[in-house]
């Protein structure tokens, strides 16, 4: 093997790297030249243990296994700022999404909140559940109380399509 991370003793997994590159439009990740613009503008930077450019470089070097099983890849809020600004069209967003897909494929542990969001979408079609509003006088209102229209939940056909899409992955 040509390279080892001296701290974790992790070795590159070039096969997986190739898999991730295949998921990108044009293997564009290889073009990253580490200007670190993505990290400079990252919305979720405060919550990240690894910076976007570091994720980018680790995948490029093939050190993907550790990443695919870590929580780090789930922190991205998908604001797509890095996609807009990347000078090499190699933004970490697509890489992170590819890593998430890989994690799911490998049945790695997905954060609970994330799973909750998925089941909410399945049930309600929405990523967030409804919350009641509390006024300054500490009165609680629901949608009905505010005179807002009722929400239509998705039909069963949506759930079938959604499940099918998940299985195809």
């Amino acid at each position: 093997m040509s390279l080892v991370d001296s701290m974790s003793m992790a070795k590159p997994n070039l096969e997986t790297r190739e898999k991730i590159l295949a998921k990108l439009k044009g293997r564009e990740l290889v073009n990253c030249f580490q200007c670190m613009k993505c990290t400079s503008g990252c919305t979720a930077l405060k919550f990240l243990e690894l910076k976007p450019h570091e994720i980018e470089k680790l995948v490029n070097l093939g050190l993907v296994d550790e990443l695919a099983s870590s929580d780090i890849i789930w922190t991205c809020v998908t604001c797509l700022k890095c996609v807009q600004r990347c000078p090499q069209k190699a933004s970490p967003y697509h890489v992170i999404i590819a890593l998430r897909n890989l994690a799911v494929e490998r049945e790695a542990k997905v954060p609970e909140e994330f799973m909750k969001a998925v089941s909410r979408i399945l049930e309600t079609g929405l990523a967030e559940s409804f919350q009641d509003i509390v006024s300054r006088k500490m009165e609680t209102f629901d949608r009905e109380g505010l005179g807002l229209p009722k929400i239509c939940f998705p039909k069963e056909s949506f759930q079938a399509v959604f499940m099918k899409a998940l299985e195809e992955r």
Partner: protein, 680 residues
């Protein structure tokens, strides 16, 4: 000379100055700080000043016309122009007054910009006072200036090109096509230089030999080019336009006219010799043709190895002699000295590749699998020792992991502080070649510091390398270690990932930088071509005169002036050729009259000036006097650059620089001190 001086003195006694003073605003560059109106008013009050004016841009067409009109209208015979540095516009104003009929050397430039407004921008009042003082000094000096004439000397239309690499080849072809006789001197047995050793060239991946060899053949065939290989310049005398050059042509022990380059001799020669063209990666014979595309394609015997030449015995070996059908071999051949009359010189001696064995940390020279980038070129070249297959030296196998290490010997204060300007692109090219030749099975890494891909098409080339899965590791290893099987490993801290990576490689290529040629000290001595701090030859001006030496008539092309890639080298070579054409095409050159002159009566012949002159412009002449012989200094006008060292050193005051005589300088000093003493 005495007569000339006498005339000048007479002229001085008879004159009455009519001085015009012109103060330039230089937009706001000067007027923003200096009160130009006050300076003008002050100038009007100075003795013998007839007229004083100020204007926004004195160098502009209306500004120049104003001066010209005043010269005619007020019969001015001296002009002081208070403006920017004389380096900028002295020549402009000299031309302007000459057009109005005044001798161009009767102009004095006072520098109000670089000497006043720029350095004193924060203190305008004091700046104005300083400007007044400088104008006062200029007026005091201008009165004593003497009219001078430019002299013309005829020139030889022959050009010497030193070095037969791509720079020398390009310059020779351009000059020869323009009708000049060119003498191309190359110390190796073949022209082609560094470029001939390269496999392919960035960023287009043209085969180096395919684009170079036709040019080499053109040189050999051109009726205006005399090609002198295995030759060195041994002495240079004379001055711009009229050099006398001696060239030593070393014996080949093979007659060039007879040898057909069949190489049968090399097949029978029993003595093995490390092949210099292949960076000693393979062996050739004591008699051999320098390379497969050598020009001239003529065999040469290495006298350090040839059995007969070493033992000097006629009965030894002689196998080549028996084999050669053309009867070209001649063990009696002697070296030959060739004398040439030359008008201009193009120096194109190129550079060397840094020797990384000076650097212990990478193990170059100890670890067989650590090679230099120039060795990689030979390994990758189809005419090289492996027939173009990239093989690991120790195992003879294809490498599985190939690592390039950048900035070896460059950007390193222990060796060379400068950036080698080619290392990044060379490694990118070699990485791409390795990917193309070996395919997907090799991991390729480039350990770099900054990746510099600045030329036309270079950034795209860098992207192409990344597209080909060449991985870039931002960090340089501190040392390399070797395993018993010859494979290598090292730690490198990667700043992109913030991780310490342990890397394992079976072939490491060091991106060695370019360093000054081994001959550079000799070239410096022979041609009085100065060197810059980095050891390369120094151009006359880094921006505005990049193709010439400060010594007139000597031009620079290629990597002898600083590390360069092929496109830049060829551009500079064509530029230098054009400069030579510019210098010599009219058949004569004008020589500035601001030179040293010797007062024969005062010269004691002590030779101090001769020893101190950096341009070797002083010759000592013997003269018959009443009581025997006397030595006297004489200035070779065409070589004197008017630096003034001799004038300062002369113990009797016999040698002076025109326009900077003692009285002229003293008048300026007196004027400077006049105000300080409280006078006017």
């Amino acid at each position: 000379m005495t007569q000339k001086l006498f005339q000048a003195r007479l002229w001085k006694a008879a004159r009455m100055a009519n001085i015009g003073v012109y103060v330039c605003h230089c937009g706001l560059n000067i007027a923003g700080t200096v009160d130009v109106e006050k300076v003008t008013e002050y100038a009007k009050g100075l003795p013998e000043v007839k007229i004083a004016k100020h204007y926004t841009y004195m160098c502009s067409d209306p500004g120049q016309r104003m001066i010209q009109d005043d010269i005619k209208a007020h019969n001015l015979n001296r002009v002081v122009i208070a403006t920017c540095s004389p380096r900028m516009h002295e020549e402009t104003f000299r031309k302007a007054v000459a057009e109005a009929g005044l001798n161009p050397y009767l102009v004095e430039i006072v520098n109000l910009r670089e000497h006043v407004s720029w350095p004193h921008a924060h203190e305008p009042k004091k700046a104005t006072e300083k400007a007044k003082a400088l104008v006062r000094m200029g007026v005091a000096r201008v009165k004593l200036l003497e009219p001078l004439e430019k002299r013309k000397v005829s020139v030889e239309k022959n050009v010497l090109v030193v070095g037969g690499g791509i720079a020398g080849i390009q310059a020779s072809l351009d000059l020869a096509n323009a009708g000049f006789k060119v003498f191309l001197v190359e110390k190796s047995p073949s022209i082609g230089g560094r470029m001939a050793q390269l496999d392919k060239t960035f960023p287009t991946l043209d085969c180096s030999a395919c684009i170079l060899t036709p040019k080499m053949v053109d040189v050999a065939k051109h009726p205006n080019i005399t090609l002198l290989t295995s030759s060195e310049v041994t002495s240079v005398k004379g001055f711009v336009g009229n050099y006398e050059v001696s060239i030593l042509k070393k014996p080949r022990y093979v007659e060039e006219a007879k040898c057909v380059g069949c190489e049968l001799c090399a097949q029978v020669c029993p003595v093995k010799v490390p092949d210099r063209f292949n960076e000693k990666l393979s062996q050739t014979r004591a008699i051999s043709v320098y390379s497969s595309h050598a020009v001239p394609k003529v065999a040469i015997i290495n006298p350090d190895y040839c059995l007969r030449l070493k033992t000097k015995k006629k009965e030894v070996c002689g196998k080549c002699l028996q084999t050669c059908e053309a009867k070209a071999i001649n063990f009696e051949q002697q070296s030959e000295t060739i004398q040439l009359k030359i008008g201009g010189v193009v120096i194109a001696v190129g550079s060397e590749v840094f020797d990384a064995s000076n650097m212990s940390e990478f193990g170059y020279g100890h670890y067989p699998n650590v090679i230099s980038n120039i060795e990689f070129e030979r390994i990758s070249d189809a005419s090289g020792p492996t027939g173009g297959k990239i093989l690991v030296p120790k195992t003879g196998q294809l490498p599985k992991t190939l690592v390039f290490i950048q900035c070896v010997g460059s950007r390193d204060k222990r060796f060379h502080e400068y950036c080698c300007r080619v290392g990044c692109m060379v490694s990118l090219k070699q990485a791409i070649l390795a990917r193309e030749k070996i395919g997907k099975d090799v991991n390729i890494y480039v350990c770099y510091n900054d990746l510099r891909s600045f030329g036309k098409g270079y950034e795209e080339f860098y992207r192409r390398a990344r597209d080909l899965d060449i991985n870039f590791v931002a960090g340089i290893p501190s040392d390399i270690r070797m395993r018993a099987d010859g494979s290598l490993y090292f730690d490198v801290f990667e700043r992109g990932t913030n991780k310490l990576l342990e890397m394992h490689a079976d072939l490491v290529v060091l991106a060695n930088g370019l360093v000054p040629s081994n001959d550079i000290a000799r070239i410096n001595e022979l041609f009085h071509a100065s060197r810059s701090a980095d050891g390369f030859l120094l151009e006359a001006h880094p921006k505005l005169r990049p193709l010439e030496c400060s010594t007139a008539g000597i031009f620079l092309a290629g990597a002898c002036q600083g590390p360069k890639d092929i496109p830049d080298t060829v551009a500079q070579a064509s530029g230098a050729a054009a400069k030579v054409i510019d210098l010599l095409s009219s058949g004569e050159i004008e020589i500035e009259p601001l030179k040293a002159v010797v007062d024969e009566d005062l010269c004691s012949g002590c030779r101090v000036c001769e020893s101190i002159c950096p341009f070797v412009a002083i010759e000592m002449k013997k003269e018959e006097v009443a009581h025997g012989e006397k030595l006297r200094a004489e200035v070779v006008e065409a070589m004197c650059q008017g630096c003034g060292l001799c004038s300062v050193a002369c113990p009797t005051g016999a040698i002076k620089i025109q326009q900077y005589s003692r009285e002229q300088v003293v008048a300026q000093v007196d004027a400077a001190l006049a105000e300080a003493k409280g006078g006017s």
